[in-house]
Amino acid sequence: MDQSEQETTQTQLSKPAVLQDAQPQDVASAPTGAQIFETKGLSIYYGSFRAVTNVSLTIYENEITAFIGPSGCGKTTVLRTLNRLNDLIPTARVEGDVHYRGASLYDKDVSATAVRRRIGMVFQKPNPFPKSIYDNVAYGPRINGIRQKGKLDEIVERSLRQAALWDEVKNRLNKSGLSLSGGQAQRLCIARTLAVEPDVVLMDEPASALDPIATGKIEDLMREIKSRYTIVIVTHNMQQATRVSDRTAFYSVLVDSQNDTRTGTLVEYGRTQQIFEDPQDPRTQAYVTGRVG
């Protein structure tokens, strides 16, 4: 319990230490925050199969970064690399550099658990625990050692409010998390992620299973919380990317017809406006204008 508190303080302390503010050369000169992630020449393998290759990008603080691209181009794989969730797949292997706030994520002595406490994730399919709504949200704080009822109550209410779910569930907090509708369940999962106050929230197509109204709620919520969190979102919905994201990374698939392998790679990365209005790569242009994919 002490340990986790220590770790939290360390994060906060280390924030200003890595302000190597490399300003990207783009026209939209909005102020740019600290670098949260920096990947260089990232390749990800499953066994001998190279799923993703040559991904180099920088993700900035308090921004929403969208990953777009056709299916099988490795967006989700890259996302899961950012909080070491791919470690759970025994054959997965990472090559190249992934830095988080200046620290290498894949160093020998880095604890995946400590990484994931700072970098939370919301999954494509809502996956609430088969526990009460309250216990779902309190789960993260509890594993981090918070036991006092009063403090947990406070965290649960705050997280559910942030996720715009409080008013809908405040009278049935002891009901099962599985009793909620798809959109509510996804917002519960977001509340659960926010309850541990992560530094970064990774979202893997969080709205793909939801109707437009629930999607709209989740997008509003993303805009609302981005002042406190850094968000990386994978989406198949290009309108969603233009609506919420500050930067967009376009991935595509390299097909090697000789060996019959398909490898995802990063094609273009920049301000969302630039990617959609003035794409530099013909593949990006074909994709965002709807001619391909």
Binding site: P90, T113, F123, P128, P130, K131, I143, V196
Partner: protein
């Protein structure tokens, strides 16, 4: 463009007569038949045991003792010592086998994965399931009873050995049913592997694990062969399960039913009904426990 204006030809949406419909009907009849065939022996066993055993059952039969010699008529003495023995021995066996089995299943499914040790444990559990129960009794006889004498504990060892593989395999199946999405959700909040297992995987699977374990216990409560060599089957109550010869309902059924005396036979039927009732109570308990642990799963 009114709907009434265009006359549509009649559409026949019924399943057309033919081989396909016949196949469907044959399959349905076959399934109902199979169900009835399965029910016949079950109903027959229950009917016979209740019809023959109900008259023997009384409060003094369930609690009184000692168990009378075979030649005495029905209505004397009671099966109290055997009821106590069965509860003691099966209970002790469950205390040993169920936690071990669940831990084994957790290792095999959550930690071992495709590793060699997990494969060995899985394979051995399968082999152990196939060992005849009388062989398990002989095994305990040769490694325990020969050195330390007959006791309820020896019987519990034998029953525990029979329960263990069943508990491992049924618990493993339940753990497999827990979706990986739940594990990932927990990992993504920064939980360690033990936390994920204890706070997400186990609670999600607990209902199924408990009912599987209770089924194994109920099954073991009726085992006779492994007890023959291990508890000796005496006629008086032995409250100390750890030492001294003991007795149990199943072995009493065996000892009484093989006699020509009507009193002994009546006692055997009564003991059989008592045993079925104990198993039935365990099943109902399993249902309640399952319902309690799965109250959040829908």
């Amino acid at each position: 463009m009114m709907a009434a204006a265009t006359e549509q030809p009649a559409v026949d949406l019924r399943e057309p007569a033919g081989w396909r419909r016949t196949k469907n009907q044959i399959a349905t009849v076959a399934m109902v038949l199979a169900f009835v065939v399965v029910l016949i022996p079950l109903g027959f066993v229950l009917y016979t045991v209740i019809a023959r055993g109900a008259s023997a059952i009384s409060w003094s039969f369930l609690t009184g003792g000692p168990i009378p010699p075979n030649v005495l008529p029905a209505g004397t003495g009671g099966m109290g010592p055997a009821v106590i023995g069965t509860l003691e021995i099966t209970g002790l066996a469950a205390v040993m086998a169920v936690p071990l089995g669940i831990l084994g299943a957790i290792y095999v499914n959550e930690y071992g994965g495709r590793g060699p040790l997990a494969q060995v444990v899985r394979f051995m559990a399968d082999v152990m399931t196939g060992v005849p129960s009388i062989v398990m009794g002989l095994f305990i006889f040769s490694i325990w009873v020969l050195h330390f004498g007959y006791s309820g504990l020896a019987g519990a060892f034998a029953l525990g050995c029979l329960m263990l593989p069943v508990v491992i395999r049924s618990s493993e199946e339940m753990l497999k049913l827990v979706p990986d999405a739940l594990r990932e959700a927990s990992y993504a909040l920064g939980a360690t592997k033990s936390r994920v297992t204890l706070t997400v995987v186990l609670p999600a699977a607990l209902g199924g694990i408990v009912s599987g374990a209770l089924l194994a216990v109920a099954r073991a409560a009726g085992e006779t062969a492994p007890l023959l060599f291990t508890i000796l089957t005496v006629t008086s109550t032995n409250a100390n399960v750890f030492s001294g010869a003991n007795t149990a309902l199943s072995t009493q059924i065996f000892a009484n039913a093989t006699q020509p005396y009507t009193g002994a036979q009546s006692r055997a039927w009564g003991a059989a009904l008592t045993l079925i009732a104990i198993a039935f109570i365990l099943m109902i308990a399993a249902r309640f426990v399952t319902a309690r642990f799965t109250r959040y799963s829908r």
